[in-house]
């Protein structure tokens, strides 16, 4: 049995080999993060945010950084990708794949590149949305990120075509660790649709994806931001999506977790301009011994902002899910309108959900509501469907599917909604089919 300290050392040793964005300013950030990581390491269960998610098993792994050279063909990427005809940035086993990506013919004012292809120093845009003080993966990611997506959209440019980031684990290298940092900046009135898609070619692929996505939305900017985590059930995935929202901006964050032995998402937005609006939609489907943990945090910092959050989950077999949603309504945030809910469907006796919706309200003129439910397949619905001739397997699957896809109804894009619905149908837990 290994102690977490051993994996800490392994991560720290890796720091000297990272050469992406090798500028003095970036290196200074990395050094600071390294010092932070040396001090705190990975979070333990004593930390409230990690109470229900143990990193013990992750600590037993020996991750590698040298990927076996792999070439995937365009057809494979087409098959893996969620949508067709979009701009595409493809990363395979941690390495940017220019020949598989589609980054040509971008409109004026749109900069979409792999981090490794950047010519400008973007140090001042890094670590703007995340906090390195607390133990967690932010320091680790800052210390080790070696690729990522960079998206910048200038004032009033509205990109109609979707951008899909496809991050593939080919399964060729066992226990490969990949650390990615994505930066997304939309200037005043800019608009875009981004899909972060994490997928494995091989169902038995192993490894770690450690991701931080920083989003900055200027005045009236609108970002539809989808994340589909569809990796093998034998891999680790730890991700933070953190946004800053200025006046009148809208972030629609949809977070779908299907794969992973352990998947942890921290989604955070700070609404710091009046009339900023946030929509968070989440869905997790887990079975076997999978563990998924979603922590969300919404800060209403100024008056007249709104947020609407719905997370739903389906658990089967021995799986374990955690939902923790925090909404903070700060002192000056009068007229905040915040709604949060988490609904769970348990398909078997062995599974577990720990759900904790929280609101802290320091303003007195607000409209806030939250709630969570945990339930099973409704026996009246099941009997009704069977009395109409559907066998029990189909009836259970249909009810599970209906519970899950309800979240997709919230999504603005019909194409993405349809594509996600197909993916979810294929990944319904087995318990839905018993």
């Amino acid at each position: 049995m290994k102690q977490l300290a051993e994996i800490h050392t392994a991560f720290i040793e890796r720091a000297d080999d990272v050469s992406l964005l090798n500028t003095p300013a970036v290196n200074a950030l990395r050094q600071k993060a390294k010092a932070q990581f040396e001090r705190h390491g990975l979070p333990g269960k004593k930390q409230e945010d990690w109470k229900y998610t143990s990193l013990w098993q992750l600590g037993q792994e020996q991750f590698v950084y040298q990927a076996v050279e792999t070439t995937l063909d365009a057809e494979t990427i087409d098959r893996l990708a969620l949508v067709t005809g979009s701009y595409r940035l493809v990363i395979v086993d941690g390495v940017f794949q220019p020949e598989l990506s589609r980054l040509a013919d971008l409109p004026q004012g749109v900069k979409l590149q792999a981090m490794s292809q950047l010519d400008a120093d973007i140090a001042d845009q890094l670590n703007q949305q995340i906090d390195l003080e607390k133990p967690g993966f932010n320091a680790l990611n800052t210390m080790l990120f070696s690729e990522g997506l960079y998206l910048h959209i200038a004032n009033d440019i509205q990109l109609s075509q979707t951008i899909e980031l496809v991050v593939v684990n080919s399964g060729k290298t066992a226990n490969l660790a990949v650390h990615l940092r994505h930066l997304v900046r939309l200037e005043n009135g800019a608009k875009a649709t981004l899909i972060e898609h994490y997928v494995a070619v091989d169902d038995a692929a192993t490894g770690l994806n450690d991701i931080v996505t920083e989003v900055a939305l200027a005045q009236d900017a609108q970002l539809e931001h989808y994340k589909l985590q569809q990796e093998s059930v034998t891999s680790y995935h730890v991700a933070t999506m953190a946004a800053h929202q200025a006046e009148g901006s809208h972030w629609h964050n949809a977070n779908i977790s299907l794969g992973g032995k352990l998947a942890r998402n921290d989604v955070h937005s700070r609404l710091e301009g009046e009339a900023a609006h946030l929509t968070m939609s989440g869905l997790y489907l887990v079975a076997g011994d999978q563990h998924v943990d979603n922590h969300t945090r919404i800060d209403h910092s100024v008056a007249n902002t709104s947020s609407d959050e719905v997370y739903k989950g389906v658990m089967d077999e021995k799986s374990h899910a955690v939902f923790n949603g925090k909404v903070f309504v700060h002192k000056d945030a009068q007229k905040t309108d915040a709604n949060q809910s988490n609904h769970n469907l348990l398909l078997s006796r062995g599974c577990e959900i720990d759900t904790k919706p929280e609101m802290e309200i320091y303003a007195d003129d607000v409209k806030c509501g939250h709630g969570s439910t945990v339930g099973q397949i409704d026996m009246d619905q099941l009997f009704f469907l069977r009395a109409r001739g559907l066998d029990e397997v189909s009836a259970r699957s249909l009810l599970t599917f209906a519970f899950a896809v309800d979240v997709l109804e919230r999504l603005p894009s019909d194409e993405i909604k349809q594509a996600l619905s197909t993916v979810i149908e294929q990944r319904l837990p087995r318990g839905a089919k018993v």
């Binding site: 619905q381 009997f383 469907l385 009395a387 109409r388 001739g389 029990e392 189909s394 009810l399």
Partner: protein, 255 residues
């Protein structure tokens, strides 16, 4: 032809006997009304016929077209042509009506060895059945019964029945919660489905429904037994005298 034969049926729920020896024969093409006060066992009878979990059959048999229903799952009964129109149709958010109709029809067709209908034939068929219950096409794309009024839910049940063309339909309190206009529409739909090859059992507390759907036979269910049988005039008699007299009736009367 005998469509349904219930012989000395006893059923319990949570160890409590609700049906205490029901005998009933329904021939093809007949419409039977089963009336009775609250707690007589009316809903238990319809649930037992459709195969709902939670009831234990301790004695007797249920023969449908000569085959014992008791050992069949609810879906197997439905696929063979037994249809229960629910007293309280459930709402199923996230499942569209059209999806349900298609899945149900295909399940029945598959049992009959028929291919699935293609999208165009299916839609043509559904539209023709919707006219029968005067339902607007928008109901196809809404979630099953979600946000439907009481009348819309019952019309939706009859729409499913019209589409599935069962040989035996059990209408459980179809009139409950209906205003007079909805009752008329639902009744017209049911009457249009009367056929020499189709039998119906109407379970109802009130005589009112029987003014619209006139039964061939009326049975009075009380305390788990059929205590009196007759023609449609029996229903009128019940309307006049209520159910109080049956408590005084001697054991074993009727049927």
């Amino acid at each position: 032809m005998k469509m349904l034969e219930i012989k000395n049926l006893h059923a319990t729920i949570d160890g409590k006997e609700i049906l205490k020896g029901i005998d009933l024969t329904v021939n093809a093409g007949e419409v039977h009304a089963i009336m009775g006060p609250n707690g007589a066992g009316k809903s238990t009878l319809s649930n037992v016929l459709a195969g709902r979990d939670g009831y234990e059959i301790t004695q007797g048999e249920i023969l449908y077209k000569g085959e014992n229903l008791i050992d069949l799952e609810p879906e197997e009964r439905a696929q063979r042509g037994v249809f229960l129109a629910f007293q309280y149709p459930v709402e199923i958010p996230g499942v569209s009506n059209i999806y349900l109709l298609k899945a149900a029809l295909n399940a029945v067709r598959k049992y009959q060895g028929l291919d699935e209908l293609d999208a165009i034939d299916f839609l043509t068929l559904v539209r023709s059945k919707m006219e029968l219950v005067k339902m607007d096409e928008q109901f196809l794309h809404r979630s099953v019964n979600e946000g439907f009024s009481g009348g819309e839910k019952k019309r939706n049940e009859i729409l499913q029945m019209a589409l599935l063309e069962p040989a035996l339909a059990i209408l459980d309190e179809t009139d409950s919660g209906l205003d007079i206009d909805a009752l008329r529409i639902v009744s017209e739909g049911v009457n249009a489905l009367r056929d020499t090859d189709r039998s119906m059992i109407m379970i109802t507390h009130y005589q009112r429904l029987l003014d619209y759907i006139v039964p061939d036979y009326v049975h009075v269910l009380s305390n788990g037994r059929i205590v009196k049988s007759g023609d449609k005039d029996l229903a009128k008699e019940l309307e006049r005298s209520g159910y109080s007299w049956i408590h005084d009736a001697p054991e074993g009367v009727g049927a």
